[in-house]
């Protein structure tokens, strides 16, 4: 039996556990006497302590042991949840996550931090015992009143557990929550790894069996004593009793398998067996989902091929079945894509922590409000979105929100406000981050850009154009290069990341009153509604949502336009891309051309092609590793007849149109 499989799973689950821990700690900060939360934190420490030692993460076990002790004191009312306690717990939580990746405990940073944390915890405990000696315990020691017993639980993991996708950590958590425990390191005999757990509890054997219900084949539970065998004092007393009774002293641990006791006492008191709050949620390996998505997209492709192939009249008898399949596969697609959607709230916890830490570090008070965190986005998008959002939040707190004294001078509330709002409209999801700070100083931005040589000093710019300067690489207005932001690469990367997700970012600012960043994203990106266009024998796809109008033009008017490289549309001159030139096709234009007017980032531009074929539901296929960096192909899609069409990246196409960057021919292999 290979334990490492369990280990990987443990690491993954421990990460989840610490994720929830962070959420609970932040909640605890606003409500420090919430006994439910305290209990929750205690439980996490308890579980981590036990399970990490099983997998050889001794350092995690050590540090959580101490924290468990602290929260035990808190539970008993002997200690209060103060800011130092929370700070320490949060740092420890991060430390645990580092340790999970440093199994051998080799990273000098981790070693140092372990040491520091240990001494901070000790100080905290010492300080506490001095301060709060007389406080009476609030919690009744339930264990004291009842009779304690010691159980020995042998756990034999096997591969079947992995096949059955059993959450072994949850089982252990339930088990260890029953009482005090001691875990022996895995014993290896005859290739059978097993763990021996000694559990001291007031609960009956039924409660233990409830906890291991789903994996009982892998466990052996034996009651070995009616006392806490780890409490040597108690044993001594017992021995004295026995001696007095002149009965032979029992060796409590040496019990054979035959002595398994099945207590018949019903388990009334099972409140400590935690009911899983996410019972109606199922966590699935992401690769399984990917596989499902792949099959869905194959089905959609096959379906559109079938629809195309059966257009002829002779297929009339089966037409209605084809339509039925078409309908069902569309529903199936919608449903499957829905599985991949996760609420934005999942990542908001991370931001709360960030805001908390940053505002402390910068000595600013910030109130972080969220709205619409139940809005759902594709899992991949949420993952990719977190980094740019973190950057924006940093910017807002660092540059946007003013220190309290400045805010008071300006007649604002001393506590700054940062608001994250998300809402959906059609197939789009909007994420808005709004601060009530400085706002952008347009004059300063402009001067900075001139100073950096990014724009000419006399260039007339609209307000929006000035704001967009902060997306230019190498632009940073921060007067000092702070640790938090201002490396001058930030917003440029933010914009790029968002464009990579086929999204857009927009900034609105009101000097003196704050800035709003709005990110517009597609809810799911794997299937696009597109327009199929044709240039000579090349087919390409343009996302339908970017197209404003389609029209026709004659080639002579294009030639007239080649000098200024703009077209007249709706009384304005807009830049254009001639696909024939872009693709380096040597043939002459046909007499009549098609013009597609696209709108992206609030600006219009035109794309010139030979013809428009029609709408196409495109399953987006990535370009593959070899061609991933293509200048204007965002991916490919399979057409009805099995050939492929390039999906044009409208963001980059627009850049090409604006900068009139037709490729330098014959240069592509350099």
């Amino acid at each position: 039996m290979d334990i490492s499989q369990f280990k990987d799973r443990f690491i993954a689950e421990a990460f989840d556990l610490t994720e929830n821990l962070e959420r609970d700690l932040l909640a605890l900060e606003t409500d420090p006497t919430n006994s439910e939360l305290i209990e929750q934190v205690f439980r996490v420490m308890h579980t981590l302590k036990g399970v990490s030692s099983m997998y050889g993460f001794d350092k995690i076990s050590e540090i959580t042991h101490n924290l468990e002790h602290i929260y035990d004191l808190v539970r008993d009312g002997k200690m209060a949840v103060t800011t130092p306690v929370l700070d320490l717990t949060l740092i420890t939580r991060d430390h645990i996550r580092n340790l999970l990746q440093d199994e051998r405990f080799e990273n000098p940073e981790n070693i140092e931090r372990q040491h520091k944390l240990q001494s901070s915890i000790d100080q905290l405990l010492v300080g506490n015992s001095n301060a709060l000696k007389i406080e009476k315990p609030l919690r009744k020691k339930k264990a004291k009143a009842q009779q304690l017993a010691t159980f020995n639980i042998l756990f034999y993991p096997n591969e079947e557990l992995i096949f059955r996708c059993i959450n072994i950590l949850a089982t252990l958590r339930d088990l260890l929550a029953l009482g005090e425990y001691h875990i022996e390191q895995p014993a290896s005999d005859n290739n059978h790894e097993s763990w021996s757990i000694f559990l001291v509890t007031s609960k009956s054997i039924n409660d233990i069996e409830d906890a291991i219900m789903f994996v009982s084949d892998n466990f052996k539970v034996r009651k070995i004593a009616d006392i806490n065998i780890f409490n040597t004092k108690e044993i001594d007393e017992r021995e004295k009793e026995y001696e007095a009774e002149e009965s032979p002293a029992v060796q409590p641990i040496m019990v054979s398998d035959t002595e398994i006791e099945y207590s018949s006492a019903s388990s009334v008191n099972n409140e400590s067996v935690q009911s899983a709050p996410e019972l109606n949620r199922l966590s699935v390996d992401i690769t399984k989902l990917d596989r499902l998505m792949y099959l869905v997209s194959e089905l959609i492709t096959a379906n559109s091929q079938l629809t195309l192939a059966t257009k002829e009249k002779s297929y009339n008898p089966i037409r209605k079945y084809v339509e039925k399949i078409d309908n069902l596969s569309k529903q199936f697609r919608a449903n499957a894509f829905d599985i991949r959607l996760v609420p934005i709230g999942d990542m908001v916890v991370r931001f709360k922590r960030l805001v908390r830490d940053l505002s402390k570090q910068l000595n600013k008070e910030v109130d972080f409000v969220t709205q619409g965190t139940d809005i759902e986005l594709d899992k991949n998008t949420v993952d990719k979105l977190s980094e740019p959002l973190i950057h924006i939040i940093r910017n807002c707190i660092d540059h946007g929100i003013e220190p309290a004294d400045v805010r008071l001078e300006r007649g604002k509330k001393p506590v700054g406000k940062l608001k994250l709002t998300s809402y959906s409209s059609g197939n789009y999801v909007f994420v808005e981050i709004q601060d009530d700070g400085n706002g952008l100083n347009l004059e300063k931005l402009r001067n900075k850009a001139i100073e950096k040589g990014l724009i000419a000093a006399d260039k007339p710019l609209s307000d929006k154009e000035i704001i967009d300067l902060i997306f230019v690489p190498g632009f940073s207005t921060a007067n000092s290069l702070s640790e938090i932001s201002g490396r001058g690469v930030g917003m440029n990367i933010v914009k790029k990341r968002i464009e990579d997700m086929r999204g857009e970012i927009d900034i609105a600012t009101e000097p003196g009153f704050g800035t709003t960043f709005t990110i517009k994203l597609q809810q799911s990106v794997a299937i696009l509604d597109t327009m199929l266009i044709k240039v000579e024998n090349q087919y390409c796809l343009v996302p339908l949502e970017d197209i404003e109008t389609c029209s026709q033009m004659v080639v002579s008017s294009l030639n007239e336009r080649s000098f200024s490289h703009t077209l007249e549309y709706d009384n304005e001159l807009i830049p254009f891309v001639d696909l024939r030139k872009l693709f380096d096709l040597q043939t002459e234009h046909p007499d009549k051309l098609r013009t597609l007017v696209l709108k992206k980032n609030d600006q219009r531009f035109a794309v010139i092609a030979d013809g428009i074929v029609g709408e196409h539901q495109a399953v987006v296929k990535p370009m593959g590793k070899l061609l991933a960096g293509h200048r204007y192909a965002a991916g490919m899609s399979i057409l009805g007849e099995g050939s492929l069409a390039m999906i044009l990246d409208t963001n980059h196409l627009q850049q090409i149109a604006i900068h009139n960057k037709t490729p330098e021919y014959g240069n592509s292999t350099i």
Partner: protein, 160 residues
Amino acid sequence: METQQSKEAYLSFRLGNELFAVSVHKVLEVLQKQVVTEVPETPDFIAGVINFRGEIVPVAETHIKFHMPTRSQEEKSVIVVLELQSGTDNLLISMTADAVKDVFEISDSEIKPVPPMGNSISSEFISGMVQKNGKFIMLLNIDKVFSTEEVGQLASSTLV
């Protein structure tokens, strides 16, 4: 027994008048009559891309790659889909061939060293020669043919 173990299977194919072979372990599939979609702004030797089991796979034009005379349009061609090792990644690439001949097994001892070659094909692409039925077959070192640098070049050449 020992000779049995060191035997390896190769797929041979014809390019113009020459015979080449690649290890069958690298070959995923041989495709016929495939629609190749051209992609602008890719290196000269990339004829385009195909849809292979739902993935977009580039097609290398072997004649251009090996500096061989361009074949006539009428000639039938097949596409050999290969899986290459590039660093820790597996990459899919495909290459054109005029015709696939057969699959044969040879042992290491039958492989002859590469003689100094003319100007057309870089000798580092060839790992050895085999003589079969009086004809010489060049064994392609396919990981070298589409080496990491070139694979990188393929990707970066299309970057802005």
